[in-house]
Amino acid sequence: MLSRYRVIDLADDRGIFCGRVLGDLGADVVKVEPPSGDPARRFGPFFNDDPGPENSLFWQAYATSRRGVTLDIEQAAGRDLLLRLARSADFLVESFRPGFLDSLGLGYEDLRIVNPHLIYVSITPFGQDGPYRDYVATDLTGNALGGFMYLTGDADRPPVRVSIPQFWSLGGAAAAAGAMIALHQRTLTGRGQHVDVSCQQAMARTLAHAPQFWFMEGTVLERSGPFRAVGGGRKMRVNWECADGYVNFLQPGGKTGGGTMKALCHWMEEEGFGEPLLSGTDFGEFGFGQMPDDILEAMHQGLGRFFLARTKRYLAEGALERRILLYPVNDPADVLEYPQLVARGFFREMEAPDGSAMKVPGPWIRSSAGPLATARRAPRIGEHNDEVYVALGLTLEDLKGLRHGGVI
């Protein structure tokens, strides 16, 4: 899809997701990392729990769909080489702190002179301007300032993040969208532009209707653990314990909720877990969470007993057959075996750091026109130095000199 475009990717762990998205759509993404290796290579988990720049599974997961070269852009010779790379590129993606590349003479204003077609994408926690532009951030503090944490977690403990970092990936995905909008504009004007991404804003756009509750009603929504607040201080359970883990079941109310509860009560009766109060109730009469207290309580008790006696797979498969809105709370082992993903052939094999094969997630979108890109594992440090720099017009002799000088 994007095979005629070249991306120069300077982004580290904070912006690594953007190049992944563009590469997955077929762009030729050249990751430019310091000769000592990209900071993203320091992030765990590690292959066989053995830390090392080629063993980072964070890198292996997110640096795919790219070629890789090394370059010390803080040396004059390295800076010059980056300018040469940028001259023929369509996109440049970076995630340094605001102003850093400007200080090297590699900022947007410098690059647009070298290549007016270039789309220059900057991914930072808060954006290029504003009172927080120089604030330092991690995934956790970004989740906090993006409004996500306050809404998530058990009510009697501190608010939480997702234990697998999300903040930078959200920003990276937003950057890819912004970059593509800029590309579309370039087809009209012939000119590139600067795309300035705020990860904080990307996080703040995951909050569903919660901001509207404040703006329209002055209501601050609170976190409610494995429950969903349904008004009047009442809560309906979302996540339930079962025999070997957890399942997700939220009685949706209205007609849909009536149907799903009828099927569930019938199933419970079949298996000796019938509850007369529940079986005798038409849940279709109640809006979301609007059943009387005693029925809500009976639902929590009765369903809880049934789920606790059954495994998540048993419940999920039975629910599917009966069209009940119940789903497994999958862990990664469950995900690998999830029948839908298996049937679609989602997971694929990729070369692991030691040359063996490892299973990795497949593409996030498919096209009737065929594969959007050739699967490509994450590059080793400097793996494509020769091919990329020679194509740029350098000789092997030049490369030797650059290597000697620690530039590549």
Binding site: V136, L140, S163, Q193, V195, A204, T206, P211, E241, W364
Partner: protein, 403 residues
């Protein structure tokens, strides 16, 4: 202003969140986006809270308007064969992009499947998002966004290790996907300029969501580690948590990624003696004594306002951030500088707020416009955009095909 997508026509059958959020990027930047609904079956989140002045109504939901700004409202009664014919004419004679996120099979049932539309309009880019993707045993399983975090594993990784997992707020995965979708649709339009050919894009929301957990998936496939939720702790940083601050439910997140940041924090807390304390001398030591560490940090934060804790830490280069409520987001000076919330006038709702895009483009500005009333532009779309005669329009309306 002239939007950069001017001349791009999007026929938008999307509903709820993933689809409408995706197509809003096109209306923000000037495409003509026709949002297809039905008077009989309006988009379910038109009945989603909160409502303007607390009064329910199809044109009063703050949830709905946020994702549908700048679109034209068309109602078609798709149970009526003439309405399906109109939709087919729009898809084949007018649209560059057809977007939908129904359960797979719905569009086909209406004679609007990709194969049929592309026969008459080979350049069409059709975008289909669904919970599970097309094909496979669960393709038609019903469900909404909030359950997908359970299936993807996000829920498994959220909460405390000694407790039942909690779900990330709302329909989290719905909101991580639209940016991917936008990139792919624009890519398909770009390819079409070269080849004249459109394509059908099939996005499984489950598969897209899993990209955001990819390192954890590899930890399992490579190392056999299932992994789990760990509150706010992090294997490579300590202290690392949301610490209580002065006031009710006020918290500040602090994360020390290096020994230097920890030393700065100890000094900031007026407890420089902790720097030499063997319990906290290295990351490994701090991880081994993390309960004690959290106690110490929490005892310092709890006497201060969250905003003050953040400012003090940031002054010393320590990552820190207030755990912002939605009220805080509206007052956040950085988000204000970025114009994160735009205020839009609406004939029934008064002013509502809508979320801005999270990227700024140096050469163009999005145009945030109000969301349509249900069916507001039915006549305009059919008469002006499709060029339908008044006679045919009246006949369709009389026959309730436009309900």
């Amino acid at each position: 202003m002239t939007g950069i997508f001017e001349g791009i026509n999007v026929l938008d059958f999307c509903w709820v969140a993933v689809g409408p959020m995706t197509t809003r990027y096109f209306s923000d930047f000037g495409a003509t986006v026709v949002r297809v609904e039905s008077q009989n079956r309006p988009d379910v989140i038109r009945s989603g809270l909160p409502f303007a002045d607390g009064r329910a109504g199809v044109n009063r939901s703050g949830y709905w308007v946020n994702y549908n700004g700048g679109k034209l409202g068309l109602t078609l009664n798709m149970a009526h064969p003439d309405a399906r014919q109109v939709a087919f004419e729009l898809a084949t004679g007018w649209a560059d992009v057809v977007a939908e996120n129904f359960t797979p099979g719905t569009l086909e049932k209406w004679g609007l499947g990709y194969e049929e539309v592309a026969k008459a309009n080979p350049g069409v880019v059709m975008f289909s998002a669904s919970m599970m993707g097309r094909g496979g045993p669960y393709a038609s399983q019903p469900g909404f966004g909030p359950v997908l975090t359970a299936i993807s594993g996000h829920t498994h990784f959220t909460g405390w290790p000694d407790r039942i997992p909690v779900s990330p707020y709302g329909a989290y995965t719905d909101f991580v996907i639209p940016h991917l979708a936008v990139a792919a649709i624009i890519g398909a339009l770009d390819q079409r300029r070269e080849t004249g050919q459109g394509q059908h894009l099939d996005l499984s929301q489950l598969e897209a969501s899993l990209q955001f957990l990819a390192p954890a998936i590899l930890d399992y496939t490579v190392n056999g580690r299932v992994g789990g939720r760990d509150g706010n702790r992090d294997p490579a940083m300590a202290p690392h948590g949301a610490y209580p601050c002065a006031g009710n439910e006020r918290w500040c997140a602090i994360a020390c990624a290096t020994d230097e940041q920890w030393a700065s924090l100890a000094a900031l807390m007026g407890q420089a003696d902790l720097i030499g304390d063997q319990r906290f001398a290295s990351l490994r030591a701090r991880k081994s004594n993390e309960d004690a560490l959290d106690q110490i940090v929490g005892a310092w934060t709890v006497r201060r306002k969250a905003q003050e804790v953040m400012a003090l830490c940031q002054n010393e280069g320590i990552p820190a951030g207030v755990v912002e409520t939605c009220e805080d987001l509206f007052a956040d000076p950085q988000l204000r500088e970025r114009d994160h919330f735009a205020i839009i006038a609406h004939p029934e709702m008064g002013n509502y707020s809508t979320e801005a895009n999270c990227f700024r483009l140096s050469e163009t500005r999005p145009d945030y416009r109000r969301a349509p009333l249900l069916g507001e532009h039915t006549e305009y779309v059919l008469r002006q955009l499709l060029g339908m005669s008044q006679e045919r329009f009246d006949a369709l309306a009389g026959d309730r095909a436009l309900d």
